[in-house]
Amino acid sequence: MLDKDIKKKAINPKDKSNAQNIPLDKIFKALTFTASLGVILLLGFIIFKLFMESALSVEKFGFKFITSMEWDPVKGEFGAGAYIFGTIVSSLIAILIATPVSVGIALYLTEIAPPWLSTPVGFLVELLAAIPSVIYGLWGIFVFVPFIRQYIQKPIGDLFGWIPLFSGPPLGIGMLSAGLILAIMIIPIITAISRDIISSVPTLQREGAMALGATRWEVIKYAILPFAKSGILGGIILGMGRALGETMAVTMVIGNRPEIKASLFAPAHSMAAVIANEFTEATDDIYLSALIEVGLLLFLVTFIMNGLARFFIWSVARGPKGGIRQ
């Protein structure tokens, strides 16, 4: 039936009335609409369910749930402050480290490296994204954490231990390691997107800058980065989304201790990690409800962080595309 219609169209391409009768367009429209609507409904349903299930905890602890650091399943006292802190700080560390590295890799692959090198290197970087996070976590415990403790935390602690940021015993495990593991995990995402964006900068733009006598660095600075900045920022947002929700790798190296400490070396905890850790064995109602409220808050934090990032992009990208702001 459909084939026939298509054939008809092929025979009589100018026959407009026939074209309008073809249901294919309508079907396609309906299908895509259903797909989009389905995702939105699903999202709505998830949020609704989280609201319903967390009602008990919201009622009991109220706003204090967000600020309280007390998480004691035995006494039935729950507060998610330390988890929220851990999630946000570890993701920020990851973004701060991953962004320059990723943009650097992307620039090198597109602008500097010869094709015989850039293809395999690019492929390998993307391969990092395919490693399951539990593997990152186990590698983190056995290889990465001892390395961090011995060669980063010990020397830094000896020299700058008096600064609260680097105080405390070098455990290896802790906020810093979690941030670094997350950085490694989001580098492939930000790199892949940045590379695609940078290679889509029109060649004319590059050639124009070169014709004016720009060095390679100046081409990158004045012709490429301004053109690609909003795309790159989009990549960073995607990376941040992954970092906020990452569970397995984080819980393996963060130390799982719900405390807020100034030191990067101190153990911490994260929202996704506490849910994954405690959900299976949480039997009483208030405990379960508190864990679900943590899930709801994770949703909110992700929304807010995304919103802030988008606002940031909007304010950066307001200038003319490819323009230079002095």
Partner: protein
């Protein structure tokens, strides 16, 4: 760029699914073969159960062995955690549950058809540590172990620890306690032990599958704790005995109720269960930590199979009873190879009596 990764992923998935399909076929063939050997099977029956992860390797071995003996009986056990198993019992979606902790009165009240606890295996929790150049055998007392986890003993060469270890030169190294961050029967047994031997712990922290540990860092799962202890000098942790032995971790000797220092072992765990029988209530809902007996080891606990008191389906009931009885007698032969302590005969007898009331 993503396209290429997509193609590779697709190829991988295809390859993987081929492998899976291949395996599936092989299994089918095997099953058919075994079926042919046994004369005419009765009506096939699938028994559904869910619960604890700790005894899962043992149970899965038992169920597959039982299936070979009785090809018409298939057991579908999902190791979703004790909490999940109890919840499924409350909702009546499974024929049996499994839990590393016995149910409270309140929880029992929520199970419509009643519940019978059947101790099926015994778990021992080893206290493991990482001290360079010092093998297994550092002696810890109830007090020193509690103080380490309370965070009041901070160094390995603390005089309190040294007092029991005159033969070992303990280093001046910070102690980092490592605890299980995920809710687990192992933590439940461990904190139950600490609560029993220390009133300070009981008051400040308490016992449970997840507690608020006053000091240290958390590792997810036995593998997480074992991993952190392995790589962090000066750390101390607690894991299931099987993890300590298979990972070659050094473990401590603990002072038991009779004053002897015992290392964790399957024999010591069975001895502990036997030692606890004297004070055991009939329904076996009891924690057996810190039992009497000169060879007993302190940090041990039962893992239970949970049955209903009443089954609508009599065929199911009969088969389930047969299966359960087989598990705590013949099935125990698989325990040692998988590092579980077998149930002593006295407890098997107790189980016989308890199962008799099931309708």
């Amino acid at each position: 760029m993503f396209k290429r990764a997509g193609v590779i992923a697709l190829v991988l998935i295809l390859a993987l699914s081929l492998v899976v399909v291949g395996c599936g076929k092989k299994e089918d063939v095997k099953k058919e073969e075994t079926k042919q050997e046994v004369k005419e099977p009765a009506k096939d029956l699938t028994i559904n159960g869910a619960g604890a992860t700790f005894p899962y390797p043992l149970y899965s071995k038992m169920f597959s062995a039982y299936n070979k003996l009785n090809p018409e009986i298939k057991v579908n056990y999902q190791s979703i955690g004790s909490g999940g198993g109890v919840k499924q019992m409350m909702e009546g979606t499974v024929s049996f549950g499994a839990s590393d902790a016995f149910l409270s009165e309140e929880e029992m009240g929520k199970i419509k058809n009643g519940v019978i606890h059947v101790p099926m295996t015994i778990g021992a929790v080893a206290v493991v540590y990482n001290l360079e150049g010092i093998a297994s055998g550092v002696k810890l007392t109830q007090e020193t172990l509690t103080d380490i986890y309370l965070g009041t003993i901070k160094k390995w060469n603390d005089p309190k620890i040294a007092a029991d270890n005159s033969d070992i030169k303990l280093p001046n190294v910070d102690i980092t306690p490592v605890f299980r961050s995920d809710g687990s029967g192992t933590t439940s047994i461990f904190t139950d032990y600490l609560s029993k031997v220390s009133s300070e712990w009981k008051e400040k922290v308490g016992a449970g599958k997840s507690v608020k540990f006053p000091a240290g860092i958390g590792g997810k799962g036995n593998e997480g704790v074992a991993g952190q202890v392995k790589q962090l000098p000066g750390s101390i942790g607690y894991v299931e005995l099987a993890y300590a032995t298979t990972n070659n971790l050094s473990y401590a000797k603990l002072r038991n109720k009779d004053g002897n220092f015992t290392a964790p072992s399957l024999e010591a765990a069975s001895a502990a269960a036997a030692g606890a029988i004297a004070d055991m209530p009939k329904d076996t809902r009891v924690s057996i930590v810190e039992p009497g007996g000169k060879d007993a080891y302190g940090i041990v606990g039962f893992s239970w199979i949970l049955l209903n008191e009443k089954y609508e389906d009599q065929v199911m009931k009969e088969e389930l009873l047969k299966l359960t009885k087989w598990m705590y007698r013949d099935g125990q032969q698989f325990s040692k190879a998988l590092h579980y302590a077998p149930i002593p005969e006295e407890i098997a007898k107790l189980n016989d009596n308890n199962l008799a009331v099931i309708k």
